[in-house]
Structure formats: C-alpha cells, structure tokens
C-alpha cells in the first residue's frame, strides 16, 4: 500500500503535499468511538448500579461496547495506510510569548498503536465474556462494580495507547493504575486484597513520578509533548543527543523508571504477584496481557529518545534480563498456581525489556503479542480451576484434571498455554522468545552475550516451572481437595463444578489465538529489506523501527545494530537459536516430567535433601520465600518510612497540635483564669476596684512633679556614668 501512495503523486503530476492533505481530509472521526465505547459502557454500568439491576445486564453492556471497540479497531487496521492524527477535541492549549503547551485530545494512529489496540480490545472483549460467567456469584452485588472497573480500564488503556501526545498517555497511565487498584481491591472485605491494592497503587506511584518528570523534561527540551513534534525536533537535530545537555540523558532513565514500575521490573516488581488477590479475569486482562505491557509500549513509542544515551538501552537490557531470571527462580518454588503465573509474567516481561535493550523492538513487541494470548489463557484456566474447586490453587492438592469429566477443555487449553510459555518448538512463544534470545547475541553491547546465556538458562527454568504446574494439576491420578471458599458446604461431600459455555468458549478462542499468534512470523513482508513477518511490518512504521531486523535506519549513530551479525558457538544466532532454545525447553519439560509426573516423591525427597544439608539449605528456603525481597523492602524502606511517619505523627500531635495550636488556644484561657475572679458579680468589689483606681490616679497626679524629678535624676546619673567610662577609656 505504501508504494501505491507514493506512486499516486507522480501519476497525477502534482507534488506530494496535496495528496497528504487529501489523506488527512478522510474523515476518521468515527475512530474516536474506540475510546468512547468503554466510556459509554462505564456510564451504562453506572446507571445499572443506580437502578440496582439484579441481572447480568452490566456484562452484556460491557461485552457489546468492548466488542464494538474491537470491531472499530479492526476496521481502522483494515483501512490503515500511513500514520495519521485524528483530532477529537482541543484539550490543553496554552500559548504565550515564545512558547506553547499543546496537548489535544487526539488519536495518533500508526501501526504500533493498531498492534496494541488489536489485542487490548480483542482480549478485553473475550475476557469480559469469560467474566460474565466467572463473576456470576456476585450478580446483583459487585457484578456492576466489576464491569464498570473493566470499562474504566479499557477507556484508560485506549487513551494510553492511542493518544497522540505524552499527556494523554499520562492520563491513560494513571487511569489504568486506578482501574488496577479498583479491581485488585474488588473483594474489599478481604484484608489481603485491600493491602495488595494499596501496594500496587503505591509502588506504581514511584514509577509515575519518573513519567511525570520525563514528560516535563521532554517538554522543556523539545518544546512539545506530541509524538510528531518530538520526532520533528529529533530530525532537526539529526538525532544527535548533544543539543539538549543533561536533560537528554536524564529523560530515558526517567521513562525507564516509569516503565519498570508499570511493567513490574526488578526494583518495583513486588506489586504484581500480590495483585493476584483480584478476581482472575482481572489478573488475566490487566496484570498479564495488557496493562503491564504499557511499559514496553512506552519505551517503543519513545525509542529514539533511548538512542540518545549510550547506556540507556543496555540498562533496560540488564534490568530485563536479571528480572527474567530472578522471577523465574521464585516461580519455580511456589505452590500457588496463580502466583506461579504471576512470577512467570514478571519473568516474561523481563524478556520483553531484554528485547528492547538489545534493540529488537520487533522481538519485544512480538513477545508482547504472543504473551498476551498464552498468558491470558493460562490465567483464565487457573481462574476456571479456582472457580470450580472453591478457591483451590495449591498444586499439591489438585491432580489429574484432564481425566475428570468437564475439565478436558480447561486441561488442554492450559497445555497449549504451557507449551507456548515454555517455548515448545513451533509454538508462538518459541518464535517470539527466539527473536529476543538471538538478538542478544547479534547486538554488540556490554555483557549482552552473558545476558543471552542467562536468558537461555531462564528459558529452561520457564519450561520447568510451567510444566511443573501442568503435570501436577492436569496429569497424574485424579485427586482434589476443596479450597477455603466453600460457602458453608461440607468439605467431604464437595463436588467441583466444571466450567460452562462462556468460560470454555473463551478458553478455546484464546488458546487458538495463542496458536495462531505463531503465524505472523511466517507472513510475507510487504516492505523491502525487512524480515520478521507481520509484526515487523507493524513496528516498521513506528519510532522503534531501529529494532526491526533488516530495517534501513539512518538515524542512530551510537549503537551498531545488525553489523557484526554476532555468533553463538560459531553459528548464526538467528538459526542456532531454534535448536538451542528448543533443546533447553525440552530439558526443562523433561525434568518437570520426571519430578512432577513419573516420580512425584522424588521432588519432595530432593527438597528434603537440600533442606537437610547445611550448605544448601538456603536455596529452597530463599526461593520459597521469594528471596525475602518483601522483607528486605520492609526492613530498608517501609520501616524507616514508618518510623519517620511515627516521628512526624508525634511532632504533629505534640508540637503542632499540642504546643502551637492548643497552646495558643490555652493562653487566653489561662489569662482568663487570672482575671475571672475580678468579674464576680458583687457590686461592692467592682466599686472597690474603681475606688482603688481613682485613688491611684489621684496619687499619681498629686506626686507627678516628684516622680518626674526622680526619673530625670536616674537618667542623668547613668549618662554621667557612661561619660566617665568613655573619658577613662579615651585617656588610656
């Protein structure tokens, strides 16, 4: 299509500018409804709450509205030719002498936006369908609140992804954080859920400070917060970072902080595992598929800014690689299957950041895309199990689900998700992960080869912990125990209730999506030179085209990309990685097969042996306790802050309130205590004081000459004394 457009002006014999105008004149304002539909859904859910609707109406409304959003996105994608700005309304327009701040409520539609919007709205719709059945025990109670939260989330996420300036992204960024808080704390009577919601919100705030500062610095450096304007400014300076001084070097790190907060990377990842206290559809939608990829979106969107600092992208790579490994080690030792999935999400997000860091925005985006599907399916199967077994999530208390009636779809869709997550050959996760792993060996950078090997090892760990779940829960002899959400039923007579149509339908659709997500890799490219299929095509139009294999990029001078072509064990990484990661995946699955299906007692024995020996005891203990990171944070950050807070509370109580406020208030009262006896109501005492005063005045007047004389004599004496001292001092 791009070639076609460039041909038109030559045929017509006119310069290209009018054509661009014609294209901009095409009325795309209907695309605004992609943003408005979730908002309409929110309003309707609010009406449902106001009229106390006791049916599934909120779910139907939300599904219809989100489905419309998805269809509109599909239409927009279908008619997409080149990046375009769709102006919805003027938002912030401040002009003054020599400057301006413009942030309109406008949509920036390029292929990157569309890629994100396709899976955000698509998965959003499917997960709303799933939730309509999953949340049915709350119909008439929290049902409306839940779907209103989902609508808020989708509205904020569309603002974040589709906005044409950083301020709109910020609006969406805060909005998704708020929706996340709303939905994690959905079971607000559960203290753990409330604590998790607060934790997510507060940890995210730390990152958001980075984003706010970054937006300010971008505006003060480039004079605009619109993506177009930033690109123009960078082009005007020929992508040379020396013009902006220190700010140019500070911006990527601040953006990084924001991305690491939202996408749960190493210093700030602690909120994500706790966020699993929310209902499972929320975990699948917000905390696995969409919101947590906002950090990756942010970095891809501002990729040229990261190119301006030599160490920005390597930092991203190191944080991502270490997080991937670190979270995988924790995931290996957990027993709660939803928590394992949470750590695996942190780990996979780490892979995506590694991909961004080693300059394969294509690999990162592809992994975001495939991960959205297979992680959604994994979470949704976990949710189905939790739903059916009264909240049971412990993999030691569930076994052999695939042999139980009604659980086949759950078991096999979970298998598909596990295969993709483990990077089993020819699944979608295999291709997307390989794109990142191979590039770690291709791109030259500090320690990138080490990170590559670490990521390969992590891939093995991933395969192990993924199949640990599947072999334990879905394979083996049939055995189950009910969880603690029995609602008064007798545990002995507990019968799990298998998922019905809505859950099964959504599971099958998303699992098929996870399989089909491998196909974009094989799609032919329309653009010359580049390879990598449909995703590469989608990224090639975006600011991050430097990360597309084979893309012609003139703009960055700091990082050499695709020049050395690298090698791994003397082979071309892109080809060798197919075998290496495949083999590593097989080894991981094999170990899981032995420990968790064939010989389950061996796993306990190994654990016992490790615990028995003094030298190795720390390993399982630390891993099961999540490396004590929460405890370290409590000791190093929370307790000092808590103590500081207590000190300030005491200062407030005793200094501000006590001494200043109440002290000043007590002053008149104390004075009054002295003088109030005078005001006793007895006429004679008033008369006495009056007479006393009159006598005093009379005496003063009588003796006034003597008093004046006395005062004059005293002052004269002291003046004399000074004079004497002065003369004595002067004489010496």
């Amino acid at each position: 299509m791009n070639e076609l457009i460039s041909i038109i002006p030559t045929l017509a014999g006119t310069p290209s500018v009018p054509v661009a105008e014609v294209l901009h004149a095409t009325n795309l304002s209907w695309a605004g409804f992609i943003v408005w539909m979730p908002l309409i859904s929110l309003v309707l859910c609010g009406l449902c709450a106001a009229f106390k609707v006791k049916t599934k109406a909120p779910a139907i409304i939300t599904v219809i509205c989100l489905g419309t959003s998805f269809l509109l996105t599909l239409m927009l994608w279908n008619g997409y030719t080149q990046p375009e700005t769709i102006h919805l309304f003027d938002w912030l327009q401040i002009h003054w002498d020599g400057g301006s701040f413009v942030a309109n409520f406008a949509l920036y539609i390029d292929s990157l936006t569309l890629l994100w919007m396709l899976f955000v709205t698509g998965l959003g719709t499917l997960i709303a369908v799933y939730a309509s059945e999953y949340m049915e025990h709350d119909v008439g109670k929290g049902y409306t609140r839940f779907f209103a939260g989902v609508s808020v989330f989708l509205f904020a996420m569309t603002c974040l992804v589709m906005g044409d300036n950083l301020l709109m992204l910020y609006l969406g960024w805060e909005g998704v954080g708020f929706a996340s808080y709303w939905l994690i704390g959905y079971f607000y009577q559960k203290p753990a859920a409330v604590a998790a919601a607060k934790k997510a919100f507060i940890v995210n705030r730390i990152g958001d400070v980075g984003l706010a500062l970054a937006i300010y610095l971008i505006w003060s450096t480039f004079g605009t917060v619109q993506y177009d304007g930033i690109t123009t400014a960078l082009e005007a300076h020929n992508y040379d970072g020396s013009f902006g001084g220190w700010t140019v070097h500070a911006i990527p790190y601040l953006l990084m902080l924001a991305a690491f907060g939202k996408s749960a990377q190493l210093p700030l990842y602690v909120w994500l595992p706790d966020a699993m206290e929310g209902p499972t559809p929320v975990s699948a939608l917000i905390h696995a598929a969409t919101m947590v990829t906002a950090g990756i979106y942010l970095i891809i969107r501002t990729y040229p800014l990261f190119m301006l600092d030599e160490y920005a992208l390597p930092t991203v790579a190191w944080v991502g690689g270490l997080t991937a490994f670190f979270a995988a080690t924790i995931g290996m030792a957990q027993y709660d299957i939803k928590r394992i999935m949470a750590y695996s999400t942190v780990s996979q997000l780490g892979y995506m950041f590694l991909g961004l860091g080693v300059i394969t925005s294509y690999g990162a985006a592809y992994h975001v895309f495939t991960h959205a599907f297979f992680k959604a399916v994994l979470f949704l199967t976990c949710g189905a199990i939790m739903h059916g077994f009264a909240g049971q999530l412990d993999l030691r208390r569930l076994s052999g689900l695939r042999k139980m009636k009604g659980w086949k779809i759950v078991s096999y869709t979970m298998l598909i998700g596990c295969l993709c997550l483990a990077g089993f050959p020819l699944t979608s996760g295999y291709f997307s992960k390989d794109a990142i792993l191979a590039e770690a060996f291709v791109t030259q950078g500090p320690g990138f080869a080490f990170l590559g090997w670490l990521a390969i090892f992590t891939a093995g760990l991933t395969a192990y912990y993924t199949f640990r779940v599947w072999f334990r829960v879905c394979a083996g002899p049939v055995h189950y125990e009910a969880g603690d959400e029995l609602h008064g039923d007798d545990p002995a007579s507990f019968r799990p209730h298998a998922p019905r149509f809505a859950i099964n339908f959504v599971l099958v659709v998303i699992a098929l999506g996870a399989l089909i997500a491998a196909l974009p890799y094989f799609m032919p490219n329309e653009t010359e030179h580049i390879h990598g299929g449909w995703i590469a095509e989608m990224i090639h139009d975006s600011p991050a085209k430097a990360g597309v294999p084979g893309a012609v990029v003139e703009e960055h001078g700091t990082v050499d990309h695709d020049l050395g072509h690298g090698n791994i064990l003397g082979m071309d990484p892109h080809k060798a990685m197919y075998y290496i990661s495949g083999i590593v995946g097989f080894i991981g699955i094999g170990i899981a097969l032995f420990f968790h299906l064939f010989c389950r007692s061996a796993a306990d024995k190994l654990r016992g042996k490790l615990l028995a020996s003094r030298a190795t005891r720390w390993l399982p203990t630390a891993m099961e306790n999540k490396w004590y990171v929460d405890e370290i944070y409590i000791a190093t950050i929370r307790s000092p802050l808590w103590i500081l807070g207590k000190i300030f509370a005491l200062l407030d109580k005793y200094l501000i309130d006590g001494a200043l406020v109440n002290g000043i208030a007590a002053l008149p009262r104390a004075t009054a205590r002295w003088f109030s006896p005078l005001h006793n109501g007895a006429v004679q005492s008033y008369a006495i004081s009056m007479v006393g005063g009159a006598v005093l005045i009379a005496l003063l007047m009588l003796f006034m000459p003597e008093i004046v004389e006395f005062i004059q004599s005293i002052s004269a004496q002291s003046a004399n004394a000074e004079h004497v001292v002065a003369t004595v001092g002067g004489g010496q």
Binding site: H679, N680, G681, A682, Q684, A687, I688, V691
Partner: protein
C-alpha cells in the same frame, strides 16, 4: 458678687470631701440596694458642693452650670434606678445586692 477667702473655701471642700467619703464608705459597706443608691446620691452632692464652691472662689459660673447638669442627671438616674429596684424586688423578694451576683453571667 464678692469672693471669699481660701480658708472659707477649705471649709466647703472639707464638707464636700466628707459627703463623698460618707457616700463611698456607705456604698462599699451596705448591701441594701436602696441604701447603696442613696449613698451614690450623697457622693453626687459632695461633688456638686465642690463645684459650686470652687466656681464661686474663681468667679466662674461653669461650676454652677455643671451642678445643674449633675442635678438633672441625678434626677433622671434616680427615676431609672428606683424603677430597676422595684423590678428587682419583684424578681426575688429581696434587695440584697449579693442576691443578684448571677447577673455577672
């Protein structure tokens, strides 16, 4: 109109001072409202004698003008005060000043 000697003035002033002092002491030591009121009238008259005497001594009629004012005010005040005393007596059946201490509130 003739003046009189300072020694004669002293006599008037002594009477004036005595009247003022008697009124003052009476006001302070008695509790009956009517008696207290009479004592204030005594003090008024003491002041009035001093005004007239000094005015006469200095050949100045302002003293006598002032006395006219004092008498007028005292008359008005007497009417008002006695009315109040009657009202107070209706309230409490007593004219003891200490009975009305709560008026401080």
């Amino acid at each position: 109109m003739s003046s009189f000697a300072p020694s004669a003035l002293a006599g008037y002033l002594i009477v004036s001072g005595l009247l003022l002092t008697i009124g003052l002491v009476g006001f302070l030591v008695r509790r009956n409202l009517i008696v207290m009121f009479l004592c204030t009238e005594l003090m008024f008259q003491g002041a009035a004698i001093a005004f007239v005497a000094v005015g006469r001594y200095l050949f100045d009629y302002s003293g006598q003008v002032m006395v006219i004012f004092i008498l007028t005010v005292a008359a008005a005040e007497a009417a008002l005060a006695l009315a109040l005393v009657v009202l107070l007596h209706r309230q409490k059946e007593t004219l003891d000043a200490d009975a009305y201490v709560e008026l401080q509130e």
